[in-house]
Structure formats: structure tokens, C-alpha cells
């Protein structure tokens, strides 16, 4: 059965994800053997330095990569389905740009008490503000696109609209950057490179709450996502309340992309590539399989990029954004080229 193969692959992906989390915990400026990692997590008393490194420094980072990767991938999957366009993603529809505006406003235009202290001294409330700002920015852009989507049926027109909204948001950001103080600009630019390491264990629950909420909304919608993939008229004929179903999944996409973008920066690549990879891997268009599939593929890519970001071993940590595309693009490209011509660009 086709489904059994897909389920087997999902289980495999889950195992790979767990292995990557463990690897991510083991590698870094100090190498810790997997046994040590396991003992630290399970709470057995081991070398207390290892324990501190694993639990305080590395675990939040790994969990952030896991959540953000999965969130961006599922957000991209939703957008590709709703707009029935394999090129859609949080970024191509201007959603990443919207989130950037939200963050830019919070970071650059915030009160005068200094952006440089933003990451260092940012409490839970600060991060929650940033998440809300990024989510609000993302959702505003989405809402604008949704309003236009009712008038223009054509997906290409919508993408052009998304592109233009992206430029609009980009110009707002550059104005804010132009007038921002150097320290604040530095903080903002650091955010745009993408990083999984700026989330502390105290902030982690905020990210996870947003991601769990987004996933819960999506998981309940796999049936309507399947119908929406076939088009709104088709879905309506099957008894789907198209507008409310579409609003619900787009809200989920905005929360997922907004939260991930707020904490980890605008990571565009995952949102477009991970859903594509999941579709080709599982050879399925069934969202009951694709939602977990895209989530796991996104998590795998994010964790792999995080592991690679500390590979040089000289203590320098590479930015996530360029790494992700550097590792991911060739993999996706080879999947594309191996697939039959019919599959290329399929949803």
C-alpha cells in the first residue's frame, strides 16, 4: 500500500530527527560523547560541566531548531496548498517581510533604552512582544493577500502581489534601519542572518506555545486542506465552508511562520523547500501525511544546518540562513532532477 510506505518513511524521519537532536547536543566547541548526552538528559549525575553545556546551552538551541524548522515547513505547506502554487512560501508571499517589519518596529523603533540590550536583557515579555509583533506583521500581510485573493483568482497575480507587498515591507524596514541607531541596526541585522541560539530555556515555552497552537490548528484541518488543494469551488461542492477553513489554516500559517521568524530570523528556504521535499519523499498529496512529513523534513533540515553551523570547530558559529540553502538546495535539486518530468513543480 502507498500509505504504508509513507507511514514507514514518517517513522524513519522521526528517528532521524531524534538522532540529529542527540548529535546536535553532542557537537560543539566541546565534544561530548552520546553516552554523556543521554545521561545528562536523563538526569544521571555526570560531569556537571557537560550537564550545564547540554542542558543550559545546547538543549534550548536544538529544541529551537526542531520547532522552528517544523513550523516554517508546515507554514510553507499550508501556503502552497491554499494558493495552489508550488512556489509559495512564507517569504514569496511577503509574510517573512511582514514579520520583519514587526520585528524591525519592535527592535528599531522601540523606546530609547537601547537595542543592544535587546537580546542580552530581553525577558520573557520582550520575546513575547517580538513574537506577537512578528506574527502580527505576518498576519497583516496575509490578510491583505487574502482580501486580494478573493478578487483575483489567478495564482501568478497573487504571487506578484506578494512580491510587491514584500518590497513594500522591505522599504519600510530599510527606512527604519536608515533612521535607527547603529546598535539597534546591528541587533536587527543579526536577527536577519538567522540563528537558533538566541532562545534561552526561559523563552523556549513562548516559542513552543505558538508552534503547538499552530500545529493544533493545522492538524485539525488536514481534511479541508486536501479539498482546498483541488480548488475552492471543488471544496465548496463537498460541503467545505471555504472561507472559514481558509482563514483558519492561514491563521495557523501566520502563527507558525511568525513565531519561527521572530525567534530565529527570516529563514525563507525551509518554507519553500521542505514541503516540496516531503511531497516527493512521501509521494503523497494527503495532508494527514504531509503535515507531519513536512514538519519532520523541516526539523531535519534545521537541525542539520545547526550542526553544520558549528562544524569548523574553531569556536566560530556560522549564520543559519546561508548554510541552510547551501546544504538544502543541492539535495532538493537532485530530488527534482530524479523525479519524472510530470512530478516537477507538482503540488
Amino acid at each position: 500500500m502507498k500509505d504504508r510506505r509513507a507511514r514507514l518513511l514518517l517513522a524513519l524521519l522521526a528517528i532521524v530527527t531524534v538522532l540529529l537532536v542527540l548529535t546536535d547536543l553532542a557537537l560543539g566547541s566541546v565534544r561530548i560523547p552520546l553516552r554523556g548526552v543521554a545521561r545528562a538528559i536523563l538526569g544521571f549525575d555526570t560531569d556537571s560541566t557537560w550537564r550545564t553545556i547540554v542542558l543550559i546551552f545546547r538543549l534550548p538551541k536544538a529544541l529551537t531548531a526542531l520547532a522552528a524548522g517544523a513550523a516554517l515547513a508546515v507554514s510553507g505547506l499550508i501556503l502552497q496548498t491554499v494558493f495552489r502554487n508550488p512556489l509559495a512560501g512564507p517569504d514569496s508571499l511577503g509574510i517573512g517581510a511582514g514579520a520583519s517589519v514587526g520585528v524591525a518596529i519592535v527592535v528599531l523603533a522601540a523606546g530609547s533604552d537601547g537595542g543592544s540590550a535587546f537580546f542580552a536583557g530581553l525577558g520573557l515579555a520582550g520575546y513575547a512582544t517580538m513574537t506577537i509583533a512578528a506574527s502580527a506583521g505576518a498576519f497583516l500581510v496575509l490578510a491583505a493577500i487574502l482580501l486580494l485573493a478573493r478578487r483575483v483568482e489567478n495564482g501568478v497575480t497573487l504571487l506578484i502581489v506578494g512580491l510587491l507587498v514584500g518590497y513594500l515591507a522591505g522599504s519600510l524596514v530599510s527606512l527604519l534601519v536608515y533612521f535607527g541607531s547603529p546598535q539597534k541596526v546591528q541587533v536587527y541585522l543579526g536577527w536577519t542572518y538567522g540563528s537558533f541560539s538566541s532562545v534561552t530555556s526561559a523563552q523556549l515555552p513562548v516559542l513552543y506555545a505558538a508552534v503547538v497552537l499552530g500545529f493544533a490548528l493545522t492538524a485539525r484541518s488536514s481534511k479541508s486542506l486536501n479539498a482546498l488543494l483541488m480548488g475552492e469551488r471543488f471544496a465548496e461542492g463537498l460541503g467545505v465552508r471555504v472561507k472559514s477553513a481558509r482563514t483558519r489554516v492561514l491563521l495557523a500559517a501566520a502563527i507558525l511562520a511568525g513565531a519561527a521568524t521572530a525567534f530565529c530570523g527570516p529563514i525563507a528556504f525551509l518554507g519553500i523547500a521542505a514541503p516540496q521535499a516531503a511531497r516527493r519523499l512521501l509521494r503523497s498529496s494527503d495532508h494527514a501525511l504531509l503535515v507531519p512529513g513536512a514538519g519532520l523534513v523541516g526539523a531535519v533540515f534545521a537541525l542539520a544546518a545547526d550542526i553544520a553551523s558549528q562544524a569548523p570547530g574553531n569556536g566560530a558559529v556560522l549564520p543559519i540562513n546561508p548554510l541552510l540553502a547551501l546544504i538544502g538546495a543541492p539535495i532538493i535539486l537532485s530530488m527534482f532532477l530524479r523525479g519524472s518530468s510530470r512530478e516537477r513543480g507538482a503540488l
Binding site: K223, G237, G239, S285, D286
Partner: protein
């Protein structure tokens, strides 16, 4: 308002009824496409909707489905006002197939047909054993059993149309609406779709509404023909009544073609008074195809003695080796023989060219 249930839908003798219906768009100004529409369709019947482009066929279908509010009048679907049905209720009473192109990804034929069970499955969309049986039955009803695991995107246009119809069958509604189901199909597939529509009506006791540009098939398969004439008028009737009554001709005739009652199809009208060829004898296929050949050459096929000015007369002789023709040009005793349709065409073409040269 009582909530109608499935048993009421089954018991209802009339699947679809419209009374005093006006169609159109309510904008800044009201644009009426047609008014005073009265129609009725019972289970087991095929209603075929025809009309020139822009006459409002799609608008009528959308109004009948309750997707568009009528300007006046009402539509009753299995006894209840269609505009009062919720999206869910409607999806259990009327299933529709549109001409949309689908980007169906990795969905197989089974997956596509299984969408028809959507109104009945749980929140996660899992199919029960009963749903699976219904899907397989629907696939069998359209004859796609051997295709059920194939990807929908790999099917030919005709197979896709059948799979989409199977999806509508799986939806298990008393009314099926097919909007131009033959639009992208080749000739054999078109006949197949109309046959399928009729057998679904007869064998599964569905009421079918089919809109089409295919007048020929509409006349052959409709239990009720619905004609929108492009001049805000709507007619319901037996196809034969609307054809012989001249309504079809008036709705469609344009410059250059007209509805031909004898053949039930459209023929091009040639510029003023065409030259005629008299066909002397013959019955069955050889006569029909000889007439077609004559018309193809831009000449009129006349019966013996019908046109005194016929440029030639043709006698047909069916022989075991093929059809033979004897051509006698007007005002001449010479006889030209032709051993095939091609030779007949050549001879007639030469005759009409010669005549053309002489008269000029």
C-alpha cells in the same frame, strides 16, 4: 422551518423544481439574463441545458445549485428552498462537476473519487468500510476499475472526466450537475459521457443536469431539453418539440450556418444560391456520405427533380468492391464514372470549375 433529512430527499418525487425564476446579476444596475424560468426534473431523468455563449447557462446552473441567489422566484432541491440550505446540506443533495483544470499532485483516481465521501467522513476524513465500498462502486459505475490506483494527473481528458463524474456519484446525492462535461473531449469520449449520464439516471435513479454546446448529443440524450436562447427567454420541452418547433433554430442560427431539421445538426449556409447536384438514388450510408461529400464541395445535395438547374446528377451503385458512381453533367449525354468518393469529388470539382469559367 423543518430540517429535511435524507429519507425525505429519497421520497421526494421531484429532485429539482424552479418556479418563476429570474437569473442575473445584482450590481449597481440589475442585469437580467433570463426570467420566468419554470423547470422540473424528476429522479431518473436527464435534463440537458443548451444555449449560445453568454446566454446564461452557467448562471442558471449556479442558481439551481444555490450558489447564486435568484433575482426572483425560487429553486427547490428535493423539496426545500436551495438558498436556505447550508453548505453541508447542499453537498449531500447535489454533486457538481465543473470544467476546472485540477493540479491533483499525487492523488490517485481512488483518492479523487473518495473526495465524494467528504460530506460523510469524520473530522480527520478517514474512510469507513462503507465509504470504501461506495468509492469502488462509483469507480465501477464509470468503468474505471483498472485505473483506480493510477495517478489522476496521468489520465487522459476523457478518463479524468469519468473520474470526476465518479466522484460526484460517490457523493451519493439525488441530483448530479455536470457543467459542460464534454468540453475538452474527443468525439468517442463525448458519446461515452452522455451514455454515462443517461445510465446513471436510469440505473441509479439520479436526476442529472448536463449543460453542453453539443446540440447533436443534447437532442439525442435529453429527457428534458432546456434552451436559453440568448434573448432572455427560457424554454423547457422534449428535444423533438424544440427542434421541430423552430426554437433551437432561432436560438442558434447565425450568419453562415443554420440548424438543419433533416439531420438534427448545424449546416453552413453557402453564399447566395449554391450550385446543386442531384443525387438520383441510394439509401443508407452511401447516400448520406454522398450528400456530405457534395456539401463539403460547397454544392447543394438535391433530391431527383428538386433542382432543375442542377449542374449534374449522380447515380450511386453499391457493389461488393466498394461504391461506384455515375455522374451525368447537365445538358450532356456524356457519363463520367467514379470508383471512389475521391474520384467523385474530383469529377464534381472539375465540373463546377468548368461551369464557373464558362459563365464568367
Amino acid at each position: 422551518m423543518s430540517k429535511p433529512d435524507a429519507s425525505e430527499a429519497v421520497l421526494s418525487a421531484c429532485a429539482l423544481r424552479a418556479r418563476g425564476l429570474s437569473l442575473g446579476w445584482m450590481g449597481r444596475t440589475e442585469r437580467v439574463l433570463a426570467s420566468g424560468i419554470e423547470l422540473e426534473l424528476r429522479p431518473g431523468e436527464v435534463g440537458v441545458l443548451i444555449g449560445p455563449n453568454g446566454s446564461g447557462k452557467s448562471t442558471l446552473l449556479r442558481t439551481l445549485m444555490g450558489l447564486l441567489p435568484p433575482l426572483a422566484g425560487e429553486v427547490r432541491l428535493c423539496g426545500s428552498d436551495v438558498t436556505r440550505l447550508s453548505v453541508e446540506e447542499r453537498s449531500r443533495r447535489a454533486a457538481s462537476v465543473f470544467t476546472d483544470r485540477y493540479d491533483s499532485g499525487y492523488f490517485s483516481v481512488f483518492d479523487i473519487v473518495a473526495f465524494g465521501r467528504y460530506p460523510y467522513t469524520d473530522a480527520r476524513g478517514r474512510l469507513s468500510d462503507y465509504d470504501r465500498v461506495a468509492v469502488h462502486e462509483a469507480i465501477a459505475a464509470v468503468g474505471l476499475e483498472s485505473f483506480s490506483e493510477r495517478l489522476f494527473s496521468e489520465l487522459s481528458d476523457g478518463e479524468r472526466q469519468k473520474a470526476l463524474i465518479a466522484r460526484a456519484v460517490a457523493q451519493d446525492c439525488p441530483l448530479l450537475v455536470l457543467d459542460e462535461p464534454t468540453a475538452f473531449l474527443d468525439a468517442p469520449a463525448r458519446v461515452e459521457v452522455f451514455h454515462l449520464a443517461r445510465s446513471l439516471a436510469r440505473e441509479k435513479n439520479k436526476a442529472l443536469v448536463v449543460s453542453t454546446h453539443d446540440i447533436d448529443h443534447a437532442l439525442r440524450f435529453a429527457d428534458k431539453l432546456w434552451l436559453m436562447d440568448g434573448a432572455h427567454r427560457f424554454r423547457e420541452g422534449a428535444p423533438e418539440d424544440l427542434a421541430t418547433g423552430g426554437q433551437i433554430g432561432r436560438a442558434f442560427d447565425g450568419s453562415g450556418f443554420r440548424f438543419d431539421l433533416a439531420s438534427g445538426s448545424f449546416k453552413s449556409i453557402l453564399l447566395a444560391a449554391p450550385l446543386a447536384v442531384s443525387i438520383e438514388n441510394g439509401t443508407g450510408p452511401s447516400r448520406i456520405w454522398t450528400e456530405r461529400l457534395v456539401e463539403r464541395l460547397g454544392l447543394e445535395a438535391a433530391r431527383p427533380g428538386e433542382r432543375a438547374d442542377a449542374i449534374a446528377s449522380v447515380a450511386i451503385e453499391d457493389s461488393p468492391g466498394g461504391t461506384l458512381f455515375a455522374i451525368r453533367p447537365a445538358g450532356s449525354d456524356a457519363m463520367i464514372e467514379a470508383a471512389s468518393y475521391e474520384e467523385l469529388a474530383d469529377a464534381l470539382r472539375k465540373l463546377s470549375i468548368d461551369l464557373h469559367i464558362k459563365t464568367n
